[in-house]
Amino acid sequence: MAVVTITSQPGCPGIELAARLAGRIGFSLVDKTTFAQLSGEIDLDEARLRKVDEAILKGDLHIDPETEACVRLLQDLIAQLAEERDLVIIDRSAQGLFRNRPGTLHVRLVAPRKFRVRQVRTREGLSGREAGRLVGALEKEHARYLRFLYRLNPADPDLYDLTLRMDRLSIDQALTLMATAVDGMDLLQVPRDRIVKDLLPQVPEKRDTGRFANTAETEFARFLRFYRIPFEYESRTFNLETDANGRIVEAFTPDFYLPEQDLYIELTTMKQSLVTRKNRKVRKLRRLYPEVNIRIFYQRDFHNLMAKYGLLGSPEKSHPGFGRDEEVKSKRK
């Protein structure tokens, strides 16, 4: 199982190379189209995705929690995809997400600026000046994204296994080199879980008392308080796996614990079809801790609950916890 990330300087043929490489070695391609599809499946519409990109590109590292949650969730989705299949990922800071992971190949496509501007000018039908401005803007965009997510510099050579100069190599030659590297590094022999284990932090961050990860949790807490149901928030972390040294490598902290019902409740904002990883963790928890009662509240369950109280379906009573225009939970469990 393997992941190939391709980071392309603007003006280099990254998109074409990624698509052809994926086709040649039988991997799944993760590109802009894939992202748009993934975003739609988790109710991140294009407008929100654009807002996410704009916030980052403004250079503001202190974006609002909701936008940050979207960004993190997209990274989480890539990680989930990597659990399921071999990937070729173009851009989207994937070299940061998978850095130093076994079973991965990180490729950077470079060329002198003059060459790249010329390529953009020809491809986009722009003047030299316009093409230059576009290349500069895209370079800044890529750099900011990687810096925001991982505090990394895209020009750092240590992030890459292979750097290819696209002013000196044809696309076919670059393709051959990459395919040879995939074979030569025995990437496909690496077990999947070695690539994706601990890809995202497993232990949740501490939060201030009384703060919830998103408005859905806030609303659910309010609902419990309304009926005077005692609850604890993130009160217990269950160890799901430790390594040979006893270090925790996987853990899970359900959102709510209702002591009077002895019931844990985990809210998830993702569509039911996409909660593979969460379901896997809950199944593991139930296997390791059979005495623990836990229930996942999916997006649909929460909507049902709000519908019962007439809090869906009209502008004055629409609920901001889930859905297309709503905050997305990014908690890493």
């Binding site: 005077r228 019902q261 007439g310 809090l311 869906l312």
Partner: protein, 193 residues
């Protein structure tokens, strides 16, 4: 809202995608429940406490099928939908007229799903020291339960769909349907995908 004629249970009113339980089935089951309750409370004078407003239609038909002496009262709790402020809490908006200390109380609900309302009321009534306190519900949506509720008398178990009729409403409508119907997802703004 266009209504079907009472008795014509095969016609679906606006917004109802499926008749889940027909009027005849409800009547049959209520007759059975009446016998069960009469048998359980034969040696005492039960107080049936109906939870407004969902219990109204069910309770009025149920008591006619219980052929022992009984008393009736009603209680009402503010709905979560009625909460105006973030810190609002459930409270009783219509309390019992009867003192229930030492009494055999049967709480009558139209539907129990999350168990939140029933749980709140049970805690409240239990504090008044009744001799016994049990629950009777026409519909049990156990799949949605958060608070465990012991149900002594149950009409029907229902699936995780939004049901209305026979006293149960959506935004105060549909209570007067003579059957139990499944409301359209479109009306309640649900996305089932």
């Amino acid at each position: 809202m266009k209504m079907n004629r009472y008795g014509n249970v095969n016609a679906r009113p606006d917004g109802i995608v499926e008749i889940l339980i027909t009027q005849e089935a409800i009547e049959r089951r209520i007759a059975e429940m009446g016998k069960e309750i009469a048998s359980a409370y034969r040696d005492c004078l039960p107080l049936l406490v109906g939870v407004l407003k969902g219990c109204v239609v069910f309770m009025s038909d149920l008591v006619k099928r219980i052929d022992i002496p009984l008393e009736m009262d009603f209680i009402s709790v503010m709905s979560y939908a009625g909460v105006q402020s973030p810190g609002g809490a459930a409270r009783i908006t219509k309390d019992l007229d009867t003192v229930i200390e030492g009494r055999d109380v049967l709480l009558v609900e139209g539907i129990v799903d999350t168990g939140m309302t029933a749980g709140y009321i049970l805690r409240n009534l239990q504090a008044r020291a009744p001799r016994s306190l049990r629950v009777c519900t026409l519909l049990d949506k156990e799949v949605r339960r958060i608070v465990s509720i012991p149900i002594s008398f149950r009409g029907f178990k229902v699936p995780d769909r939004f049901v209305v009729g026979y006293g149960l409403d959506y935004r105060q409508l549909y209570r007067n349907l003579p059957c139990i119907g499944i409301l359209s997802d479109e009306i309640i703004g649900l996305d089932r995908s």
